[in-house]
């Protein structure tokens, strides 16, 4: 058996890490909830596992998403992750090839150059040797970049980088020391044994000229082992816990495990997968001067540490811009939202909520303007005009009175009340017998689509209007107005509807693009997700977003959300219009008369009944 006492710190650290990980993950997996085990078991031998493996390779090793943020930043992450991974794997192959047997002492490949002193002669061994030196160089380039980033994060596209705790700084120091120590240990050994390659051998020879390399080698190998072991002991308590956790998270996600509405099980996997890279910081539109250390990276850190986070949880627009860019793909807004949940029922009012009168009609289509739709009569009136011209029989569900879909309550952490409010609308929807529900409000849309679980088609009006146009139910005049489209958070990032509104707009005029669009779209500042923000700060966001959208002096800013429309109108130079309004303005009403005669008196019937 190959052994030296210096391997003990490494082995102890490694053993400790394995025990802690098994214990921690065991506990979380236990908390995943009923049915999780079955779900995992069923998915284990399916394509999902393959997809997850691919994702692990792309995100945990190559760091594809970080590359998209900034290539240099991506390279830094990749060199450390992929480089280290290959160093371990190739090292194992090298050791197995050398000894001729696959199994050997688990520390042997890591300290291979210490134990194997003979200069290698065969071509294969020389190749392995060179490859290992190359990988070490690859990692060291990453460490050098990481050091550089500490002093100048802007060089890697980051205006702000995370302010780390002292614990994280210690772990960071240990991580950075690992690879230079390995370089020196191997070089010193090469200095007297000649077992190095293109990097370690010349350095070893150089050191040999000025230092007693034979005497120094063993202490440096000790240092290498201690630092490695120390890092592994520190890992579960530092941000580096993300290294093993993210891999598991990716598998669990692919197997269909969803986070529950409490901080347990899956939420822990998400929390510990945060590498605190700080990419989310620059994406936050809340003024950094007022909201110091409140962005997602800090929120998750406090949450993970078990500190009181209620205030932090509420200080967020829930716009999802950070989530869109998060390289780990953590469901950040969900973690904020569930942390808002009231711990006691002290604040819950026993208010009663108005109930929708039940109808049963032969209409296929239900229209729901939403409470924000009632505050923007321009939108609801346009929808009424369009629906009338299209000849579609429909029921205007909240014409007489506004009802809350429940989402604002849910975002405020009042899940029980949200449920109570939504129950009543749900019954009205189901009893109507309609097969399509159209809403003008992306907030209602998200809620109907994801939370109500009714068995009918839920469409945002942008989807529905496009269907009407494509189906020839309405026709519109094309114009030459220069339009800019603003993606509403709840419609774009939260519901994935990006193309339908744009397709409509290209029919109405020429659509110019802005950089911060699609998933990167700015929050209009009207967010219902933030209840504690001051009016001044809200106005700052509204103003800057309106200015941003006006940068090319468009003839009109188009959006698809009543709340965005209201927020942007306040400070926008050019008019802000909903796509429904733009369609209504450009509607060709030639065949309107035919429809009108054909139309049953349904609209009247509805009016009388309500």
């Amino acid at each position: 058996m190959r052994f030296d006492y210096f391997v003990v710190p490494f082995c102890a650290g490694f053993g400790y890490l394995i025990i802690v990980l098994l214990f921690t993950y065991g506990r979380w997996i236990n908390e995943l909830g009923e049915g999780a085990a079955l779900k995992i078991f069923k998915s284990l031998l399916t394509r999902k596992t393959l997809l997850a493996s691919r994702e692990v390779f792309q995100e945990c090793l190559v760091h594809r998403k970080v590359f998209r943020v900034n290539p240099l930043l991506g390279y830094m992450h990749m060199s450390l992750a992929l480089g280290w991974f290959l160093l371990i794997v190739i090292g194992k192959f090298e050791a197995s090839y050398f000894t001729g047997e696959f199994t050997n002492e688990f520390y042997f490949p890591i300290f291979f150059r210490f134990f194997e002193l003979s200069p290698h002669r065969t071509f294969t061994l020389q190749f392995f040797n060179a490859l290992m030196d190359f990988l070490l160089l690859f990692i060291l380039s990453g460490v050098a970049l990481a050091l550089y980033k500490r002093f100048k994060s802007s060089a890697m596209g980051m205006k702000n980088s995370t302010k780390h705790t002292s614990g994280d700084k210690w772990a960071l120091a240990l991580l950075w020391m690992i690879f230079p120590l390995r370089l020196f240990a191997e070089s010193l050994t090469a200095g007297f044994a000649g077992n190095g390659s293109f990097l370690t051998q010349p350095l070893g020879n150089l050191l040999g000229m000025i230092l007693p390399v034979r005497m120094l080698a063993t202490p440096v190998w000790w240092g290498y082992s201690i630092v490695l072991g120390g890092f592994m002991v520190a890992l579960p308590y530092s941000r580096y816990m993300h290294i093993p956790t993210e891999i598991l998270l990716i598998f669990l996600k692919n197997w269909g495990i969803k986070p529950k509405d409490s901080i347990s099980g899956m939420a822990f996997f998400e929390l510990y997968s945060c590498s605190r890279c700080g990419i989310c910081i620059d994406r936050c539109q809340l003024n950094p001067a007022i909201n110091k250390k409140n962005q997602m990276v800090y929120f998750l850190r406090e949450l993970r540490a078990g500190n009181e986070v209620t205030q932090m949880a509420h200080n967020c627009l829930l716009c999802g811009r950070c989530q869109e860019i998060c390289p780990v793909g953590i469901d950040l807004t969900n973690l904020r939202t569930i942390s808002r949940k009231q711990k006691d029922n002290a604040h819950i009012h026993s208010s009663s909520y108005p109930s929708i009168p039940m109808h049963s009609f032969s209409t296929k289509v239900l229209y729901f303007a939403g409470c924000m739709g009632s505050l923007t009569p321009g939108i609801r009136k346009s929808m009424e005009t369009i629906l009338e011209v299209s000849g579609e029989k429909y029921l205007f569900l909240d014409k007489e009175k506004s009802y809350c879909c429940g989402r604002p309550l849910k975002l405020a952490g009042r899940l029980a009340e949200a449920e109570k409010v939504s129950q009543n609308i749900k019954e009205a929807i189901v009893s109507s017998g309609a097969n399509t529900l159209v809403t003008s409000c992306p907030i209602c849309y998200k809620s109907f689509k994801d939370d109500y679980k009714c068995e009918l088609r839920v469409l945002h009006h942008s989807e529905y209007l496009l269907e009407l146009i494509q189906g020839g139910m309405i026709s519109i005049r094309s114009g030459n107005k220069r339009l800019v489209y603003h993606d509403p958070c709840e419609l774009g990032r939260k519901s994935g509807i990006y193309t339908q509104p744009r397709e409509i707009l290209t029919k109405l005029g020429s659509l110019t693009n802005v950089e911060e669009a699609y998933g990167k779209s700015l929050c209009c500042g009207g967010s219902l997700g933030h209840l504690t923000i001051s009016m001044e700060e809200r106005e700052q966001i509204q103003k800057s977003t309106a200015e941003y959208l006006n940068q090319d002096n468009p003839d009109c800013i188009a959006t698809a959300c009543p709340l965005c429309k209201k927020s942007l109108t306040k400070f926008s130079e050019s008019p802000v219009k909903d796509i429904a309004e733009l369609i209504a303005e450009n509607l060709i009403k030639s065949n309107y008369k035919d429809h009108k005669t054909k139309k049953s008196n349904l609209a009247e019937a509805v009016r009388i009944d309500t």
């Binding site: 009632s374 505050l375 923007t376 009569p377 321009g378 009136k381 014409k399 506004s402 009016m535 106005e539 429309k565 209201k566 109108t569 306040k570 400070f571 009016r607």
Partner: protein
């Protein structure tokens, strides 16, 4: 030595200041952006609290303008000013530049754009009008058909539209809409004897002489109803009728009422025409965006720019009476300043 005084704006404040400066030997030049003088007074019918004829007042303001030392230039947009050797160089959009020894800004106010409170439906529902539009109907004696037929009508007056409303971006009180609402409610009752009028208010600020009396009169003699509560939204139901949702804060209940006409009492906002001038001189503004004088109490007409003075509603919401007094005060300050300048 004779000096040039430029007055920007030929509304009541500008006209009155020019008249007051008429006794001085200086040359007074009024720069008016429209075809004629009078500003928003042109479009007003009767004035609170005594129903004085606005056109008569405007006529007397214009008449008192001495023509020997003053001149009015129409259709000129002032967009920039700069300080030059103790004088002010006034730049017009036409490219013309005028050297002035003193400048009086009497740029007035803008009316709040009611569309910014979209929930009230102005510009969307034909029967939602603003107080200024109603005044215009009285001036031109042209009313929409639905107000003509003599049938009983229900009319709502909505107070504080765009004033004291953080969400609309205006924290300030425009202070004249309360009494305007009372005055117009009486006028509507006189014009449509079978109508009923409801005023929705937060609180009524009857600060001026005879204001409170008019408020009493409105209730006792004209049967105008006052409901304490802010309107949340207005929706068109059928035949152009409007459903108004509000909260009656005295009974603590939400309420809904149907009206034939809704009048929005829109407030005053800082004039956009003064914005570029203020920017070119880095003139400070008050919190609500009106031009800020050096001292609200003792130097209300002076600015931090030597030779630049303020009069009327460019610095805060004022009634006509207050604007006229303010213009006289500003004129006096200008004469003092020019005297001081001569002695140096």
């Amino acid at each position: 030595m004779n000096k040039t005084i430029v007055i920007v704006g030929g509304g009541p404040a500008g006209l009155e200041a020019a008249a007051a400066l008429g006794s001085s030997p200086h040359h007074v030049l009024i720069l008016e952006k429209e075809h004629n003088t009078g500003g928003k007074l042109k479009n007003w019918h009767h004035l609170f609290p005594n129903f004085a004829d606005a056109s008569e007042i405007l006529k007397s303001l214009e008449k008192s303008l001495p023509l020997n030392n003053s001149e009015i230039k129409y259709d000129c947009d002032v967009f920039k000013m700069e300080q030059m050797d103790g004088n002010l160089l006034v730049s017009l959009k036409s490219g013309e530049k005028i050297k002035a020894d003193a400048v009086l800004l009497a740029t007035g106010f803008d009316l709040f754009d009611a569309y910014k409170k979209e929930e009230y439906g102005h510009g969307i529902y034909k029967n939602v009008i603003t107080s200024s539009e109603l005044e215009g109907m009285f001036v031109n004696n042209s009313f929409p058909d639905q107000l003509k037929d003599g049938l009983p009508k229900k009319i709502a007056m909505v107070h504080c539209v765009g004033s004291r409303d953080k969400k609309a971006g205006n924290m300030h009180c425009s202070k004249l809409c309360c009494i305007t609402g009372v005055k117009q409610a009486i006028e509507l009752r006189k014009y449509l004897s079978k109508s009923s009028v409801y005023n929705f208010y937060m609180d009524l600020r009857m600060y001026g002489q005879h204001f409170e009396e008019l408020y009493q009169e409105a209730q006792e003699d004209y049967g105008v109803n006052f409901i304490r509560g802010r309107v949340s939204e207005i929706a068109e139901i059928s035949d152009g009728k409007l459903q108004v949702k509000a909260e009656d804060t005295l009974s603590g209940r939400p309420m809904k009422m149907i009206f034939d006409l809704v009048v929005l009492l829109i407030g005053m906002t800082p004039a956009t025409s003064a914005a570029s001038i203020a920017q070119s001189l880095a003139l400070p503004k008050s919190g609500s965006g009106f031009l800020a004088p050096v001292h609200q109490h003792i130097s209300a007409n002076e600015t931090c720019i030597p030779g630049l003075f303020l009069a009327g509603t460019c610095r805060e919401p004022l009634s006509l009476q207050e604007s006229i007094t303010d213009a006289r005060a500003a004129a006096l300050k200008i004469i003092e300043w020019l005297k001081l300048k001569d002695n140096h």
